[in-house]
Amino acid sequence: MTTSSIKPTKRTFARAFFRRHGGTLLALAAVLVLLAVWEVVAVCLHKEYMLPRFSAVCVAFFRLWGTANFYRYTASTLLRCLMSFAIAFVAGALFGVIGGVFPLFRSALKPLVGFFRAAPTMGLTLIILVWLRAPYTPVCVGFLMVFPVIYTTVADAIATAPRDLLEMAKVYRMPMGRRIKTIYIPHAVPMIFSASGTAFALNIKATVSAEILAHTVGSIGVQMKIAASDLLEGSALLFAWLLVAVLLSVAVEYALKGVQKLVVRRYRHAS
């Protein structure tokens, strides 16, 4: 092989860069196109209360960042989401393990879980609002969104654990603790993290909706409601709060991906 054939060129660098970051660049380009379309439609429509210009939303968004209450409201909604997520995660994982091991238990729980999966969020929120005090409603609704996702994922992960490895473990009489550590958990972790990202996005949606309906004091939901009641001033502020909720969801999803990498790496070394 000659030296020139292995010398990296600009073209090979560009290829390697696109191979690695092509997906991200494409997603970024799609967002830019979407924002450009938004701007054009808003200018053409010229009705601020229906569709504000993206630039106006940006101004409203950055103005929000300067207010002290912004952090309070965002933190309060995030805390509610994290609370409901944590409770649902623990309960879903626990019930999922039982459901994965005992198919009868899984069959018994199937109609209930199916009901919570299919029931309209608004309907559930209204019922819970009747049963519970308003401050607890968003947490409860968030729980009902996350629990079925985590429960089903954990139960599936256990039921679909690699049979060949389980047979090997049985032949060589590996204790259950080691089977859980070396077979079940490595199989389940990627599935659970992937489901957690979806569940958290659902959780934020449902929690903010519940905050709107329950009029939860000091929350993103109520701020949206206030912004929506003043549409004559334009809907830029409403869109800005919507952007906050979306960014919150994206940030948590990225944080979960980071935690997943950390867990997988640490787990590999620990076990």
């Binding site: 060949d164 047979e167 090997m168 049985k170 080691r178």
Partner: protein, 217 residues
């Protein structure tokens, strides 16, 4: 070691009906036969992975060389052996060294070639304090030169422990090269249609009659 009058069925399909087979201790018995005749089922019954509907399968501490290496993906080579409580680190190092993997103890299964992974599986089978070794076509799918090398590795390890071994294979050359007895299963439910002892002197003759027996299956 003897299987006594066992019966087993998958749904309506009877695999064994009042089937008996004795296996000589400290020797390798090769079992051949058409696909689906019950060779792997026989091993599963011996390993306790399936239970017979009737008859008696003696309980044994069993090592199993599966067709695939079945290594734990999150553990390195050494820990794939020591994850089994009955295998201590000293024994694991000894057997891994015997299969030529002493420099790959910290390698993870994803980074191993097919032959290396099967050698880890082999080391695990010999490191485990068993009194019966079951082999379910462990050399299937490997190229000829790798297979020949693995035969040598296997026979070296086997001579050290002289484990009672049941080898299931489709390859008649593999059977007569490794085993001291060759058995052919055929029919539904399965029966022994060929049974011969193999030695240096009889290898060629057994190979020829085994070919005949397999052609009739």
């Amino acid at each position: 070691m003897r299987l006594d009058h066992i019966s087993f069925a998958y749904g309506e399909k009877r695999i064994f009906e009042d089937f008996s087979l004795s296996v000589e201790e400290g020797a390798i018995t090769a079992v051949l036969g058409a696909s689906g005749v019950g060779k792997s089922t026989l091993l599963r019954l011996l390993a306790g992975l399936s239970a017979p509907t009737a008859g008696y399968v003696p309980a044994h501490q069993v090592s199993y060389l599966f067709q695939e290496p079945r290594l734990l993906p999150t553990l390195d080579v050494l820990h794939n052996l020591t994850a089994i409580p009955a295998i201590d680190e000293e024994s694991a190092r000894h057997w891994l060294s015997a299969v030529g993997l002493e420099d790959d103890l910290r390698t993870y299964p994803a980074a191993l070639s097919g032959g290396m992974a099967q050698r880890v599986s082999m080391a695990r089978a010999f490191a485990y304090p068993s009194d019966l070794l079951l082999m379910d076509e462990p050399f299937k799918g490997l190229d000829l030169s790798l297979r020949t090398r693995l035969y040598d590795v296997f026979l070296t390890l086997w001579r050290e422990r002289k484990l009672t071994t049941v080898l299931v294979t489709h390859d008649q050359e593999e059977a007569v090269a490794l085993a001291s007895r060759v058995v052919v299963l055929a029919g539904v439910p399965a029966e022994v249609t060929f049974d011969a002892l193999v030695s240096e002197n009889t290898r060629a003759a057994v190979s020829a009659s085994l070919r005949e027996a397999l052609l009739q299956v």
